[in-house]
Symmetry: C2
Subunit: 157 residues, 2 copies
């Protein structure tokens, strides 16, 4: 049985230790940012093959669960400006995953739907995501820990 090689002592480790102790221990925003960046980095590497960014995935999920909604509605829920949402949804449309169907009830609006290809693609993406999610849950220490985390995060939002 091989031992893990010990990490080399480096100045940055000393400083990191200092950052994590003493007067700076309780910086919630800082720890939140580091954790979020770490999870997003994981997401990017896992979804690299699918060419899906976090925003793309959330848009696909939201359209799938709420078909026929206007661009403005989907964008608002995700906290994306409608001006920036245009580029996002056009990219998904060019890949044949999303359809922008002109609404006959309101000729200004586009109703968003997934294509058949989009549904199939999302099914695969959801499976990939579920695997990642299970790994995160394992790291947290189980389902109960996940629920605790989401509850605490909601109180900050």
């Amino acid at each position: 049985m091989r031992r893990e090689p010990p990490p080399p002592p480096s100045p940055s480790r000393e400083i990191e230790a200092a950052l994590r102790t003493g007067a700076t221990t309780g910086i919630i925003g800082y720890r939140l940012r580091r954790a979020q960046l770490s999870v997003f980095q994981k997401f990017l590497s896992v979804f690299d093959e699918l060419k899906l960014r976090p925003a793309d995935y959330s848009v696909l999920v939201l359209i799938a669960d709420n078909p026929g909604r206007k661009q403005t509605e989907i964008a608002e829920v995700l906290g994306v400006k409608r001006a920036n949402f245009v580029t996002l949804v056009h990219g998904l449309e060019e890949r044949g995953l999303v359809e922008r169907i002109p609404s006959h009830a309101d000729k200004r609006a586009n109703a968003l739907h997934l294509t058949a290809a989009g549904e199939a693609f999302l099914a695969h993406a959801r499976a990939v995501h579920e695997t990642m999610e299970q790994e995160l849950i394992a790291r947290l220490g189980g389902e109960k820990a996940r629920k605790t985390l989401l509850d605490l995060l909601d109180r900050l939002t």
Copy 2:
């Protein structure tokens, strides 16, 4: 006693409800991002008068607790590229908060210190931050909840 006016039912609320239930309930990364953005937004509004961004504050705290370190060391711990750290620390230097003292041990390096003005400024900033932190802790439900959150976040990092 007046009742709060009920929030108007809007399409976005319906969609948000859909997002928070069903198949998309457990997206840890999404919830993490929303909470982080919310806390950073709070930070920006609270520190607007001090013209301090989150990265600025963390740099000041780190220099104060680890005086004499090189730029590269501080930058690395914070996850900032040393190229981008230059602009950051120069800004703090122009405001008279930080000194870049050429190291005589290594003529390539700058040793970072806070000026007297920087120390005073940081003392004030720390007080402001502590107030914000206490508010976050209250929202979480107390010290124990904060400890639980930081522990869970560490497992994701």
